[in-house]
């Protein structure tokens, strides 16, 4: 290390509104008000889109409702979708807290699924052991992938956003390669027709269990895992020394260093951990729902999980309901086909929702500043200006 430590801006402080910042309540109310307005606007835009493409908004709402929360089966489907979203979001919360903005969860999830698949298909042993090892391996794979970005950042100062983004596309090709190589993961042809670009199915006994029986509510191991992780992480981020140190690092890296924090170790591990959560999500998808490694297995869960974290402002406790909301939208989207409205509508809605939650705090702070400044026009008592009415004078 030579020269002064580079001043790295705490990304966390403006990615997600300052984490841990306590805002005055007047601003909080204003923010809530604007958020409601923005969400309504987002919904209106979505309805408009449906209308101009000859759909019926009420049918769309009906379909989304039916598919997500109308009955136990819907809820089951919502939870299946919410679990990987939540896992990815939890990882993003950790990285954001530490001020490293990881946007490559999609790729980390893919790598996780690939490594998990490899273990599940190759490792012999009792089911519980293979399942555990496969999930751990999936997390390790995702963590290793984001670890590349961490290494590049902390040894060479290369921008984390760029490396995680670019590595996502490399990951897609790695997986593509794996499922196209018979020596790696490509399925063993069953005799009829050429082998497709996907892996063999994970055997029945290695699939993640779910509790409950269709049509009753079923809850998968993945969802339970995600909820437990949420609780643990909420406590750790809020109450533990580790959480304290992460926040310090994210909000002021130099003060953190003065306090004895090695950014490369704490921040690097946060980045690895965030990748590990994405990898775990990949493992859960593989062994809980899809069962085969396919290039499209990630199905935007990585991107959408990141959006969940953004809406939840990097708070695990908030990520849970947001993940359920996004999971519900995904579950509902499969019912859209009957209305003739393409399921892509849900992607549009999600993007609009993120804006509806990200914009208001900023707008509110901006307006707050403006209101405060306007309310305090200082007409000096010595020289009252004719332009301003006297009653606006503020006693000093």
């Amino acid at each position: 290390m030579t020269g002064p430590a580079p001043v790295r801006r705490p990304l966390a402080s403006y990615v997600v509104g300052s984490t841990g910042l306590r805002r005055p309540s007047a601003d909080a109310w204003r923010t809530a008000g604007i958020t409601v307005g923005c969400v309504a606007l987002a919904m209106a835009l979505a309805a408009l889109l449906v209308t101009i493409s000859d759909g019926s908004p009420s049918e769309v709402v009906d379909a989304l409702y039916t598919g997500s929360i109308a009955d136990a089966a819907g809820w089951s489907q919502t939870f299946v979708n919410a679990a990987p979203l939540l896992l990815v979001a939890l990882g993003a919360c950790i990285a954001n807290r530490a001020g490293v903005f990881n946007i490559g969860q999609e790729g980390q999830l893919l790598i996780g699924a690939m490594v998990g698949c490899f273990v599940a298909l190759r490792l012999q042993g009792p089911a519980w052991l293979v399942i555990t090892v496969a999930l751990v391996a999936a997390a390790a794979g995702g963590g290793a992938w984001s670890g590349i970005s961490a290494a590049m950042y902390y040894t060479r100062g290369v921008n984390v956003v760029v490396t995680t983004l670019l590595l996502t596309f490399v990951a897609a090709q790695v997986v593509q390669f794996a499922v196209l190589s018979p020596s790696l993961l490509q399925e063993q042809g069953m005799g009829n027709g050429p082998a497709r670009p996907q892996s063999d199915a994970v055997p029945e006994f290695l699939r993640l269990a779910s509790f409950g029986q269709y049509p009753d509510l079923t809850i998968g191991v993945g969802a339970i895992l995600a909820v437990v992780a949420t609780v643990v992480l909420a406590v750790l981020l809020g109450r533990s020394r580790w959480g304290f140190r992460l926040s310090m690092l994210g909000l002021n890296p130099l003060a953190a260093r003065h306090a004895g924090i090695r950014a490369s170790r704490l921040g690097g591990s946060a980045l690895v951990l965030s990748g590990a959560f994405a990898g775990l999500a990949g493992g859960v998808i593989l062994m809980g729902t899809v069962f085969r490694l396919q290039p499209a297995i990630s199905n935007n869960f990585g991107w959408d999980g990141l959006l969940v974290a953004l809406v939840a402002r990097s708070r695990p406790g908030l990520a849970l309901p947001v993940a359920v909301l996004f999971g519900g939208l995904r579950a509902g989207s499969s019912y859209l086909a009957s209305t003739g409205v393409p399921s892509y509508l849900v992607d549009v809605i999600q993007a609009l929702l993120v804006l509806a939650f990200v914009v208001p705090p900023v707008l509110s702070a901006l307006w707050g500043r403006r209101i405060r400044n306007r309310g305090a026009v200082p007409e000096s008592p010595a020289r009252p200006s004719a332009a301003a009415p006297a009653k606006e004078e503020v006693p000093v």
Binding site: R239, A255, H258
Partner: protein, 542 residues
């Protein structure tokens, strides 16, 4: 660039401000300020930090919009909404922290911020012509990042003068200059003024500079114009009194305002202060140590070398020792390695070579926090940069360097954090709405107290105070001085890094002078004079 407009009419002032007011929320930065600058006059604007000087000038430059008031140029009222308009109305500014873009060349920087097409050849010719006229030689095609501080100052001046300003404003122009460079600068100002009838506003908080270089002086105090007269008709103590708003009798206060108190400081100590802090010795602790105590020094720096990312040498085998109970000042012009040393002692960077020894033990410098654990407390130069986390609470800021003391294996012990915070808030008289308030909501002085409280609460062997009074008002400065003396009296080795000659003379028992990252000399305060220190600062042996 004609200068026949000069002195055509001595009665119409070059610049007149009437009733300028600006308020930020509840804070009144400027309160109906009137100011008149005549042609051919150097007008000193004096005031404490936060007195409203900067706001006033930002209003003039169109960077801040005044809530009320008028600006008149040559008797005509003008509206200034943007820096561009300010330039059109003949106002030029040299900013305290340079407004140069380092990767761009000199001529590109000079051309920046004007309207119209750019013409490289014309700008280069201008740079050379202006440089020749005022004796400010600089190569227009060089990249700014390769220039020294003095050369950059020249570029700033050329940039302002090229636009033929009728009024030239300089904001703390000497903060990065040596005494010789400052003298050369004031020479140029005289030439520009005397020969060409431009008005000059010289903003400073240094009394010596104002009394030496200006014709007229105005004093701002808490946003109001407190005093204005010809420099020849007043005196430094009078100006100091006007800045603070009461008699300046305290030694510390005098130093805070930039008065070198040459006679016995004990006589100046008011009973109020002495009574309030009976543990504090009335004078700087006598130099208890000298070179023969090597090895037992509380803090010993040996052969520290640091090279910047651009290859510049920031510290050049620096040696320095501070003994227990002693205040040693590291004095020099800004930008000569003080910031680097401060960062190094905060544990923010590792040296290429050299050792830091605390109480006779070498500190492992590549481990963050090692210095803190070894007993080095630091009040950093820029507290917002590395001293505090603005978005965390006061309590969290008070404990953040010793988390292990306030946590179990995993979780923080909240009650213990609160108790410690409560105690420190009382002991150090930190004014805060609550211990859970974000640090951001505290005033600068109270934020600084949080840093001081935290660093002293760890029971340090060494306290490094880097520019500890920057940006504080006089009351807070006095308090800081008292606390530093108190710390030294209780056996802490204090290293005071400062660019303020008066502060150094008032507090330290020994003064080490730094220039270009080297120690050029160490003097006992008794043998130090502004002249000798000035020569050392310039890199010459005294």
């Amino acid at each position: 660039m004609s200068h026949d407009r000069a002195r055509t009419d001595g009665l119409v002032p070059a610049l007149e401000l009437r009733g300028i007011s600006k308020r930020y929320g509840p804070v009144v930065a400027c309160d109906a300020v009137d100011l008149t600058v005549q042609r051919g006059e150097v007008h000193g604007l004096l005031g404490e930090n936060g007195a409203g000087k900067s706001t006033l000038m930002k209003v003039l430059m169109g960077l801040v919009h005044a809530d009320a008031g008028e600006v008149h140029r040559d008797g005509r009222r003008v509206e200034i909404d943007t820096p561009l308009q300010a330039a059109e109305h003949g106002l030029g500014m040299v900013h305290q922290h340079f407004s140069l873009i380092e990767p761009l060349t000199v001529w590109e920087n000079v051309a920046l911020g004007e309207p119209g097409r750019i013409d490289k050849d014309a700008v280069c010719a201008d740079v050379e012509a202006v440089g020749k006229r005022y004796g400010l030689v600089v190569d227009p095609t060089r990249t700014v990042e390769r220039l020294s501080a003095g050369e950059r100052q020249r570029v700033e001046l050329i940039k302002a003068l090229r636009r033929d300003p009728r009024v030239l404003i300089l904001d703390e122009p000497t903060s990065v200059l040596t005494i010789a460079e400052s003298a050369a600068l004031f020479d140029v100002l005289r030439t520009a003024v005397a020969a060409e009838g431009r008005g000059v506003i010289l903003i400073s908080h240094k009394l010596a500079e104002i009394t030496a270089a200006t014709d007229v002086v105005s004093v701002l105090r808490r946003g109001r114009l407190a005093f204005s007269c010809r420099t020849a008709d007043t005196s430094a103590p009078e100006l100091a009194r006007q800045m603070v708003g009461r008699d300046v009798s305290l030694h510390a206060e005098g130093a805070a305002l930039g008065l070198v108190v040459t006679d016995d400081p004990a006589k100046h100590l008011s009973p109020v202060l002495a009574g309030g802090l009976d543990a504090v010795p009335a004078e700087p602790p006598a130099p208890q140590v000298s070179a023969d105590v090597q090895g037992t020094a509380a803090l010993a720096l040996h052969g520290l070398c640091v090279t910047g990312p651009d290859g510049r040498v920031l510290l050049d085998s620096l040696d320095l020792e501070v003994a227990t109970g002693e205040i040693v000042a590291l004095y020099g012009v800004e930008g000569n390695g003080q910031a680097t040393l401060g960062d190094l002692l905060s544990g923010l960077l590792e040296p290429d070579a050299g050792t830091v020894r605390v109480d006779g033990t070498d500190v492992v410098l590549d481990r963050p926090g090692a210095l803190h654990e070894a007993g080095v407390g630091v009040i950093p130069e820029d507290r917002h940069r590395s001293g505090v986390v603005l978005d965390m609470s006061v309590a969290e800021n008070l404990v953040m360097t010793d988390l292990r003391r306030y946590s179990g294996r995993l979780l923080m012990r909240r009650a213990q954090v609160r108790a410690q915070a409560q105690e420190l808030i009382e002991r150090f008289a930190i004014r805060t709405p609550s211990i859970d308030a974000p640090l951001r909501t505290l005033s600068g002085g109270n934020q600084q107290r949080v840093v001081l409280a935290r660093e002293l609460s760890a029971g340090p062997t060494v306290l490094v105070a880097a520019q500890p009074t920057h940006g504080l008002d006089v009351g807070a400065i006095e308090d800081m001085y008292a606390r530093l003396r108190e710390a030294a009296a209780s056996g802490v080795a204090v290293l005071l890094i400062s660019t303020e000659l008066e502060e150094v003379m008032a507090l330290a028992s020994r003064i080490a002078v730094i220039s270009s990252g080297r120690i050029t000399g160490v003097l006992d305060v008794a043998e130090a004079s502004p002249q000798r220190l000035g020569m050392l600062v310039g890199g010459e042996a005294a």
